[in-house]
């Protein structure tokens, strides 16, 4: 009978003192393995692949904003060298054409941005240029959304966003890269 009572007493007292240590151990393991970096990037939609070369559509020269990046990471915009720093402003000016200039786009819906790079262009430069072009559109959308809805673009509902975007569609066409300066 005495045995029985000791067994009872033992089962009643589970030592929970080491619980904290075990939890700490697990905690440290998860602390070490955790990576809290959120994956971010520039999202693009590629055109579907087709075997035939695209038919050279007749586009008015004034509606095309051609951006060329060569193997030395230099920019040629509409035939003239340009610093990437001013690319954003120039792109916005081209799309909106506030002064109704003869050589800039007829209307935002007709504006086409043509981007072409070399196989030797550095990825960093390419992404910088792409980023600036996208930023130009984002700024235009932001301005339009403020004017039309009085809200920042991010706060708009999906139909409102679509409304803003159909007025000023983002058309960035990428040509096959040239092959002049690729390192072997």
């Amino acid at each position: 009978m005495a045995k029985n009572s000791t067994r009872n007493r033992l089962s009643q007292e589970v030592n929970a003192g080491s619980m904290a240590d075990i939890a700490f151990l697990l905690l440290i393991f998860f602390l070490v393995t955790t990576t809290i970096d959120i994956d971010k990037g520039i999202t693009v939609k590629l055109p579907p692949w087709s075997e035939e070369p695209p038919d050279p559509k007749k586009l008015k020269t004034r509606n095309v904003f051609s951006v060329l990046v060569n193997a030395n990471n230099e920019l040629l915009v509409r035939g003239e060298p340009m610093d990437p720093v001013v690319l954003r402003e120039k792109t916005k000016e081209f799309i909106l054409n506030p002064k109704k200039m003869e050589n800039l786009s007829e209307s935002p819906t007709k504006a086409i941005i043509s981007l072409k790079n070399d196989r030797g262009t550095k990825y960093e430069t390419y992404l910088e240029v792409y980023n600036e072009l996208k930023a130009a559109y984002n700024e235009i959308w932001e301005e339009k959304s403020q004017a039309k809805f009085g809200k920042p673009y991010e706060a708009l509902t999906t139909p409102e966003k679509r409304d803003v975007r159909t007025g000023i569609p983002m058309i960035i066409s990428e040509a096959e890269p040239t092959d002049f300066g690729e390192e072997s």
């Binding site: 955790t34 990576t35 990037g41 520039i42 196989r119 910088e128 792409y130 980023n131 996208k134 092959d179």
Partner: protein, 155 residues
């Protein structure tokens, strides 16, 4: 006055540590939930460029990663120093991309296939030739939603 003197006279009670395991467990569960295990070890050096117009990648399970960069030091003897593509844990060529994408699709329900994204983690010093080859392979495999991974510009 008597109030204060009484308090000061009493011995300070020991701080109870009984709730310590609970607090630790709470932290533990927090980290368990936010943890993302690294799914593949990088064999190429990738430092992504900086950009400003960033978008978050929504669902991790819908993203397939393509790494482009120069092989790490220990692989240089075998694989050289020119830019290589890494898919999962292996070095690969752009020809392997369709098969890789099909394998990624197997783990995703069919109705979610249009939302799958290819995340390109490309080193900033890579030349566009290799990137263009990968892009053509992606287009041929009809994987048109692409995300160029980049870091926010800290200025």
């Amino acid at each position: 006055m008597s109030k204060f003197s009484k308090k000061r006279g009493a011995t300070a009670p020991a701080v109870s540590t009984a709730s310590l395991p609970d607090i630790i467990f709470m932290l533990l569960f927090f980290f368990m939930v936010v943890t993302v295990m690294k799914d593949s070890t990088l064999k190429v050096d990738v430092i992504v460029p900086n950009a400003t117009e960033l978008q978050k990648l929504e669902k991790k399970s819908l993203v397939s990663y393509l790494y482009l960069g120069k092989p790490k030091d220990k692989y240089r003897e075998i694989y050289g120093t020119s830019t290589r593509l890494q898919l999962n844990d292996k070095f690969a060529s752009p020809d392997d991309i369709p098969l890789f994408l099909e394998q990624e699709k197997l783990s995703v329900p069919e109705q979610l296939h249009p939302f799958m994204t290819a995340s390109m983690r490309v080193d900033k010093n890579v030349t566009m030739g290799v990137v263009a080859d990968v892009k053509v392979a992606l287009r041929k495999a009809n994987q048109l939603k692409v995300n160029y991974s980049a870091r926010p510009r800290g200025d």
